[in-house]
C-alpha cells in the first residue's frame, strides 16, 4: 500500500490527499466516524499549509508519509514555506463571536487538536514538519 505522496500547493489537491489517507487506512477497517475524523484532521492541516503557509504557490510542494505502528496511526507532512505554524499562537475559538463577526476561518486547528491524540509542529533544516498521531482500534 502506497504510504507516501507529494502534492503541489493547490487546494485542488485536497481531494487527492483525502483519497490517499482513506485508501491507506482501508486495510484497517476503521469505523466510518473515526476514518472521517482522521481524514478531516489531515485535510485541515494540509489546507492550512497550502493556503496560509504556501499562499497556494503551485511551485511549492508538500510531502506526506503515513504509517500505522501497533495501534497508532501517524502522518508526517513536510513543507519548505518560510512561514511556519506556531502552536503557541493557537486560541480556542469563540463560535458565538465568530457568528457575530461573520468569520469564515479559524476553526481548522480546533478540529485537529480535538481529533488527534498528538499534534506536533517542528522545523528541521529547511523543512517545516507536522506530525499527527491518533490511536486507532484495529
Amino acid at each position: 500500500m502506497k504510504n507516501a505522496l507529494r502534492i503541489s500547493c493547490s487546494r485542488n489537491n485536497l481531494k487527492v490527499v483525502r483519497d490517499f489517507v482513506t485508501d491507506y487506512l482501508a486495510a484497517y477497517h476503521l469505523a466510518d466516524l473515526q476514518l472521517n475524523q482522521i481524514v478531516l484532521a489531515v485535510d485541515e492541516v494540509v489546507a492550512n499549509l497550502i493556503i496560509h503557509a504556501n499562499a497556494e504557490d503551485e511551485s511549492q510542494h508538500l510531502d506526506l508519509a503515513l504509517r500505522v505502528e501497533g495501534e497508532m496511526f501517524g502522518i508526517e507532512i513536510l513543507d519548505q514555506a518560510t512561514r511556519s505554524y506556531r502552536p503557541s499562537s493557537y486560541q480556542e475559538p469563540d463560535l458565538q463571536e465568530f457568528i457575530r463577526q461573520g468569520k469564515k476561518g479559524g476553526m481548522g486547528m480546533t478540529l485537529v487538536n480535538r481529533i488527534m491524540d498528538r499534534v506536533e509542529f517542528t522545523t528541521s533544516g529547511n523543512y517545516n514538519v507536522c506530525r499527527l498521531f491518533k490511536r486507532i482500534a484495529i
Binding site: 487546494r11 485536497l14 481524514v39 485535510d43 461573520g102
Partner: protein, 109 residues
C-alpha cells in the same frame, strides 16, 4: 460538489451533493451570498448527499448566519449523515445551528 436548488414563495432549498472542503466551499459561499437569498423566510440545506465537510464548509455557514438572523431568515439543515453531523458536534456547532432529521421537520419549523 454540486449544488441544486428549488424554491417556493417562502423557502429556498439547497441540496448539496459531494464534498465541501476549502476548494468547493467557494461555490456554496457564492450561492448563500446572493442578495435574493435574504428574501426567503427559510433556507433549508439538504445534506443527504453531502459526504464530507471541513472547517471551510462550516465557515461558509457561520459567516452568513448573523446576516440571515438579522434578516429573519431561518437556516435549517436536514438529512445529515452521521459523519457530517459528528464534525458539527466536535466543534459544538450542533448547539448553535438548527439541524433536524428530515425534510418534513425542516419544513415544519
Amino acid at each position: 460538489m454540486k449544488i441544486t436548488q428549488h424554491s417556493s414563495a417562502t423557502t429556498l432549498t439547497l441540496s448539496l451533493d459531494g464534498e465541501l472542503d476549502a476548494s468547493s466551499s467557494v461555490l456554496l459561499d457564492t450561492e448563500l451570498a446572493k442578495p435574493e437569498t435574504l428574501q426567503f423566510q427559510k433556507v433549508l440545506i439538504d445534506c443527504q448527499k453531502l459526504n464530507y465537510i471541513s472547517s471551510a464548509g462550516l465557515g461558509v455557514f457561520i459567516s452568513h448566519l448573523q446576516q440571515f438572523q438579522d434578516a429573519g431568515v431561518k437556516l435549517v439543515f436536514f438529512n445529515m449523515q452521521e459523519k457530517v453531523h459528528n464534525v458539527f458536534e466536535i466543534l459544538g456547532l450542533d448547539a448553535l445551528m438548527t439541524i433536524v432529521p428530515s425534510e418534513a421537520e425542516a419544513t415544519a419549523i
